[in-house]
């Protein structure tokens, strides 16, 4: 009885360990030649095509909400000239990577998990291994790199669209001064803010792709297993990304002193 309970308690630890081991395998596969350039480009194109439009559509209201909230609050302090700066800080440091992560996990990751899961249950992955080809090197590594690349660029997209959305709402709806909005960009925000945003997006892309690939490749039990794998991969990725985001933000705020104090 005790062993059953302990087995149940320890199972998530085992899964986490397997996921980590899978991550290490991918890391090793990264340096194995030949590099699958064609698969990488196809995947990058595919992930970009399913994420660009939704990301832009998410980024506009995101920027707008921040602009409206911060704008309303800041008005009460009489510091409207800093609206632009606050909005840039929020979008680039937090909203950008998070929106990117949600889209990469929700659209890109689910597609990866479904694709690999379907291949798994149709024995395609077995066939590949039997043909002497390592699916991690052939399929997973290109997907992970593609995810990271697309996440990196999506982060840029969210930043631009979010800040632009904030600008439009601030200037048109809240009668902000266009010049002040733009001029205050550098008042609070600084270059390291941009770097941390980009680093975050790379790490989020990595995590999303590895979780999705792992879940897809360990799918079992027919079509239902694939559905479960997709579902679990999205949920696990979301959880992981928010935790990692929290940790990274905390470390960053400790290491890099805020500007302008």
């Amino acid at each position: 009885m005790a062993s059953i309970t302990s087995a149940r308690v320890l199972r998530p630890v085992g899964t986490a360990g397997k996921l980590f081991a899978f991550g290490l395998d991918v890391g090793r596969g990264l340096f194995r030649r030949p590099f699958q350039l064609r698969e990488f480009l196809q995947q990058a194109w595919f992930i970009a095509s399913v994420t660009i439009v939704p990301t832009a559509l998410v980024a506009i209201p995101f920027g707008a909400v921040i602009a409206l909230q911060v704008g309303g609050l800041i008005k009460q302090f009489g510091a409207q000239s800093f609206t632009g700066s606050a909005s840039v800080l929020a979008v680039i440091q937090q909203a950008g990577p998070i929106a990117t992560a949600l889209l990469i996990a929700g659209a890109g990751g689910s597609a990866i998990a479904a694709d690999l899961g379907a291949r798994k249950i149709r024995e395609e992955l077995d066939a590949m291994m039997v043909l002497g080809i390592d699916p991690i090197q052939r399929l997973v590594v290109p997907r992970v790199l593609a995810c990271m690349l697309v996440a990196f660029f999506l982060n840029g997209l969210v930043s631009v669209v979010g800040v632009a959305g904030g600008y439009v709402f601030n200037v048109i709806l809240q009668d902000g001064t266009p010049g002040a909005y733009i001029a205050s960009f550098t008042a609070l925000a600084q270059l390291p803010d941009l770097y941390i945003g980009l680093i975050k997006s790379l790490i989020f892309g990595l995590i999303a792709a590895i979780v999705a690939s792992y879940k897809g490749m360990s799918a079992g039990g027919g079509p239902k297993g694939v559905g479960d794998a997709v579902n679990e991969s999205v949920v696990i990725t979301f959880l992981l990304l928010f935790v990692v985001n929290f940790v990274l933000s905390t470390i960053y705020l400790q290491l890099v002193p805020p500007k302008g104090g």
């Binding site: 149709r122 395609e124 590949m128």
Partner: protein
């Protein structure tokens, strides 16, 4: 010239459930062997263990001096290049058309130019009768065609060992007969070691040089075709002759009462041993033996009427 597979004391279980234990046999080089067994006795699991997709709990699988069960992954990928495997549903890559599927191993493992690849692919496609279907996607063709395409892909690297996972499941009798003839012709042509997993009795009776029978979590018997077809061993004769009377029941094993009730029953006589299929060009295969040679050597009298016809020798209704 084919490679021998030496399986030694192999045991595999999933969780607490043992699939089979202590399986020892040697699949002779260059010969055709069939592994039989009632549904759910782990025939496919055995096949996957032989190619290292599943790790056994204990025992070894030796191919060319390498133990598949314990060697590092890198060696495993090397040794797998000796194998051609036909999976149950063909396992074609769904995103590629048949041509690219068959060309895939060549493009990944050899430095052949596209025109050389084309020659090899077309030759194999011709062999399995799929010329003209190169541009089709695996989703657009029938199960039988997928199987033949899977066979073409398995053969494209000129394997030393070819494994067939139920080549006849889901095929009509005519196609099965053609496929069986194809297997014989292929063996004559490339001299590789063939191991077929099936539960089709027709195939088992007429195609192989050797037969093995997995039953009740162990290997009941493995040996030359005539040895098993002439065997009086209850499990073997029941299965190879598709009879209801015997130790194999609807569920995995019959209960003791039923067996006791049957013990007095007369077992139906052994049907005659059929002729083995011969290559269609008439030139005997290297591993082919004279009909009745084994029986003569071992002093076994084959059932009356043996070696006279090539049909499976099963009277209808038995």
């Amino acid at each position: 010239m084919g490679v021998e597979i030496k399986i030694d004391h192999l045991t595999k279980s999933f969780g607490k459930q043992m699939i089979w234990g202590d399986v020892s046999l040697t699949v002779p080089a260059g010969e055709i062997s069939v592994m039989l067994g009632p549904s759910g006795t782990g025939k496919s699991v055995l096949l996957k263990t032989l190619i290292g997709l599943l790790k056994p709990d204990s025992g070894s699988v030796i191919i060319e001096g390498t133990d598949i069960a314990s060697c590092p992954e890198k060696e495993l990928y090397e040794i797998r290049k000796l194998f051609g495997v036909l999976f149950q549903d063909g396992a074609m890559f769904g995103s590629m058309n048949l041509y690219d599927n068959v060309a895939f191993p060549l493009r990944e493992h050899t430095k052949k130019s596209e025109s050389e690849v084309r020659d090899v692919v077309m030759e194999k496609m011709d062999l399995v009768g799929l010329l003209g279907a190169e541009d089709k996607l695996p989703g657009e063709i029938s199960g039988g065609m997928r199987k033949r395409a899977g066979l073409a892909r398995a053969l494209v690297l000129d394997p030393e060992i070819v494994l067939f996972d139920e080549p006849d499941s889901g095929l009509d009798p005519v196609r099965t007969a053609f496929l069986n003839q194809l297997i014989i012709d292929l063996n004559a042509q490339i001299d590789a070691t063939f191991l077929i997993v099936t539960h089709d009795i027709n195939t088992a009776r007429t195609v192989p040089d050797n037969i093995g029978l997995l039953y009740h979590r162990h290997l009941a018997m493995f040996g030359p075709r005539e040895m098993l077809l002439a065997s009086e061993e209850p499990v073997v004769r029941q299965f190879l002759n598709a009879q209801r009377v015997g130790p194999i029941g609807m569920s995995e094993e019959k209960d003791a009462d039923e067996l006791a009730a049957e013990s007095g029953q007369e077992l139906p006589p052994l049907p005659p041993i059929p002729m083995q299929l011969e290559p269609s060009n008439g030139i005997p295969r290297r591993s082919q033996r004279e009909p009745g040679a084994w029986c003569k050597e071992n002093g076994v009298t084959p059932p009356p009427g043996s070696f006279q016809s090539a049909d499976a020798g099963l009277a209808p209704g038995t």
